[in-house]
């Protein structure tokens, strides 16, 4: 799937760039994006170290285990393949909490920690497990309770009531998150996605 999407994005861009005589900007974007990718990874390193350090303290103090046991009855319906009390429950729920609060600097490192925990349960290390797909889909569906970025833009543009979008956004977010959940449950049964 990703192979097809990736190729279409690249070849489609070249084709459209050619037809619209826009080849220069397409070519320039390649180098810009590649170095931007490195900058993002580099920018992530500091907070990544910070949260992995904090999580190591939480792990050694037994906090991760206690939190996982506490949260696993709730999350086991969403992630039935994770055994009870596994540390993955802890990192997944911490990522969810950080996402809901809009703490992006914490959400990404904690999400990566969750992926590492899920990888430890994964039988085929090169292929995404069902739990990983569920975790990713829920993350890409947005879990944020207050759309701070969009509110800030509206406020900067002179909106008289920028926070009016909070409740409508919450409903739409709930819809997209439910859609992610059911999409994963349906797609994981399809034969073409077996491996």
């Amino acid at each position: 799937m990703i192979n097809t999407i990736w190729l279409i994005l690249i070849l489609g861009s070249v084709a459209v760039g050619l037809l619209s005589l826009n080849l220069n900007s397409v070519a320039n974007s390649v180098v810009t994006s590649a170095s931007e990718a490195f900058k993002i990874a580099l920018g992530l390193t500091g907070v990544m170290c910070l949260w992995l350090g904090i999580m190591k303290i939480a792990e050694k103090s037994g906090l991760v285990e206690r939190f996982s046991l506490l949260i696993s009855p709730i999350l086991k319906y969403v992630f039935p393949e994770i055994p009870k009390g596994h540390p993955a429950f802890s990192s997944i729920s911490m990522n969810f909490i950080a996402n809901m609060l809009g703490l992006n600097n914490a959400a990404t490192p904690l999400g990566i920690k969750a992926m590492h925990d899920l990888q430890s349960l994964n039988e085929n290390k090169e292929t995404a497990s069902n739990s990983m797909c569920m975790f990713l889909a829920l993350n890409t569906s947005s879990l944020q309770l207050i759309p701070a970025g969009a509110i800030a833009l509206l406020a900067a543009g002179g909106s008289t009531n920028p926070t009016a979008i909070t409740f409508p956004t919450l409903i739409a977010t709930a819809a997209s998150t439910l859609a992610a959940f059911f999409a994963v449950r349906l797609l994981c049964r399809m034969r073409r996605f077996k491996d």
Binding site: S13, L52, N139, S142, A150, G157, T169, T173, L187
Partner: protein, 178 residues
């Protein structure tokens, strides 16, 4: 309101950041040593992500630069514009899974074109608020564990984005006057 929520977020952030080491200390963990031990994995993980991020961001960057999104958005029939589905809104919907900063950029343009109190600005803001940068998140999260075979993760994420878009259009037609 947005200032209060930012303060609450900061307070919770600092509570977690201070609370965990305090709990560890009380439980007899050598907190500084444990922190450094965990933090060492941070650099390695960040480096692991780079190839995946380059692959995704280059493809997305080319797609944006080619003007393909504007072309698709211009194909929208006039009849849909009655629901506030102007080319800008379609562009936000199409670009949202690909690039977070670009979708905020289009929202900024929409606000300056139609005004911050316009229906289009509100709808665009709700669309952005209810979805995430699917391709970026997939590259970072799967890249961190060196997984290239994502199976149905991207389709599921895109279905969620599409449902979020439709839900935003419906919800906004109830809450805001067009």
């Amino acid at each position: 309101m947005s200032e209060i929520s930012a303060t609450i977020s900061s307070a919770l952030f600092l509570l977690i950041l201070g609370g965990i080491p305090l709990y560890g200390y009380l439980k007899g963990v050598k907190v500084y040593e444990a922190f450094v031990e965990g933090a060492k994995e941070g650099f390695e993980t960040a480096v692991t992500i780079i190839p995946y991020l380059v692959a995704i961001l280059v493809a997305v960057g080319m797609f944006r630069a080619s003007g393909s999104i504007d072309y698709v958005a211009s194909l929208i029939p006039d009849s849909l514009k009655a629901y506030g589905l102007t080319p800008e809104i379609i562009t936000i919907g199409l670009i949202r899974p690909l690039s977070g900063s670009a979708s905020l950029g289009v929202l900024g343009e929409t606000i300056s074109t139609y005004g911050a109190n316009s229906y289009q600005a509100m709808l665009g803001a709700v669309i952005i608020g209810c979805s995430e940068t699917t391709f970026y998140v997939a590259a970072v999260y799967f890249g961190a564990v060196s997984i290239a075979k994502m199976r149905y993760a991207i389709p599921a994420g895109l279905i969620a984005d599409a449902v979020g878009f439709i839900a935003a259009v419906i919800v906004c037609s109830f809450f805001f006057a067009y």
